[in-house]
Symmetry: C2
Subunit: 271 residues, 2 copies
């Protein structure tokens, strides 16, 4: 057992390491040591030392212009996050089937604290791929059907924090004010799905439904989204709910079972 001053130092180095990871986001995917130092508030020498260590393990990689970016080795470890990998494994075949059946776009998301995160996205013909809803990106919990489903099944503390913080208008249809949002969230929970009609974006409408894990709690959300010119989003409810049920059943099976066993050798089924 180490003494408490070493404990403290350990914690602070872990903190610094995580601070370095936290400097990277979708707008800053490659940074110099000086930029990391400025963004993290760590001294340049400390930053340089930590960056070198993270580089040699593969948590960071060299990028053009003396910059560093997140390394594939870190992605490899992080892709084991069960909330990502299990939801994705359970959802993937059903999402692709729904996309094929409806020709609309299908999205998978989960909540992380007070935001949603896109876990997976497949674009249908009706919704051209435009680089939005980037996998790994965050989105607000109130301005889309996906967000509203995740919010409806969030802890009361997360809901309360959002109600007191208030919403920021995304379009003219964004639900504003604590009381209307509370009502909306209760409706979504009671009904079992959310509908947005041109709410997050003028020309798109969609529906979203919760995915239940093995223990019954909501762990993710699946959404079906298309051009608002293709009719009412309510027409999408039935196939979406059937898909959400299939994914929930698959997930319960996965969570009850051991992770997929390795094939002989490694994974060499593909080409």
């Amino acid at each position: 057992m180490q003494n408490s001053s070493v404990d403290h130092s350990d914690r602070s180095v872990v903190d610094r390491t995580l601070k370095i990871f936290g400097c990277f986001n979708v707008r800053n995917t490659a940074l110099t040591v000086s930029e990391i130092s400025r963004s993290s508030g760590l001294p340049v020498a400390t930053t340089y030392r930590l960056v070198s260590k993270l580089l040699s393990w593969g948590a960071l990689e060299r990028a053009a212009g003396n910059k560093y970016s997140i390394g594939l080795r870190l992605w490899e470890v992080a892709s084991l996050a069960p909330r990502h990998s299990m939801s994705r494994t359970a959802a993937l075949p059903h999402m692709l089937e729904l996309q094929k059946e409806t020709n609309s776009s299908v999205f998978l998301s989960a909540r992380e604290e007070g935001d949603g995160i896109w876990l997976e996205s497949f674009w249908g013909d009706g919704v051209p791929y435009d680089g939005s809803c980037i996998v790994g990106n965050r989105f607000p919990l109130y301005a889309s059907a996906s967000g509203q489903v995740l919010l409806a099944h969030a802890d009361p503390a997360v809901q309360g924090e959002l109600y007191s913080r208030g919403t920021r208008a995304v379009t003219g249809r964004t639900v504003a004010g604590s009381l209307p949002l509370r009502k909306l969230v209760n409706d979504v929970k009671r009904r079992g799905y959310a509908v947005d009609d041109c709410e997050p974006c003028d020309d798109l409408s969609g529906v979203a439904a919760p995915i239940h894990g093995g223990c019954g709690s909501v762990v993710a959300c699946v959404a079906l989204c298309g051009s608002s010119a293709d009719g009412s989003p309510h027409q999408r409810v039935k196939p979406l709910l059937a898909t959400a049920r299939r994914i929930s059943r698959e997930l319960a099976k996965l969570q009850g079972a051991r992770p997929p066993s390795q094939r002989r050798g490694l994974d060499h089924r593909g080409s």
Copy 2:
């Protein structure tokens, strides 16, 4: 600037943190503190302290049975890894198109040191989704068309290491021995694609081609794989090479450009 003993301690804490990440793999997605301690070789008290810190940041999450798993917050940061996110963004629409056109399975992979890693996979009707080629999993660089393409464009040091280490038979068709593998790799590089006919698996055959980044170097590999009953894998070469060219062009554009700009608010185009 800190003194060298503190430098040394800093580095060792970063090492310990990364050691904890390294305990998780596809067979061990949820671990107790004792299991992490055993697997990392760190004392239980140190492990407990570091795990608590990683938990509070979201790099780890609680799982059932007093276990811990990789957290969604770490996945969020790691999904920024350009070798994953850029390749995927450039490849996704073209992979889906190829899958639709051929009804076969399409895979995206990259090399990490001496192994391949599956970055993305879409199953066609001819190849039922069976949980293999799990995104994030490693595979050997010699026993499949994807591996052979990645090996053909690897640094000579990586190739040399593999030639001297030797291959392990995956099926009766695995290329064995340094000399035949060298010849194969040279052929793949010269020809611009690799073919495997029931090599990684009895009932599947496929083709793989390199994806070039903006600077011309090979950064990833795309493969098209289907049932060997559906004819010779050579029939798949033409559509695959066209797709690889489209993805390479897209990637060069992305690497020359800034990352996709954020929409107003966050990403709220989806539902």
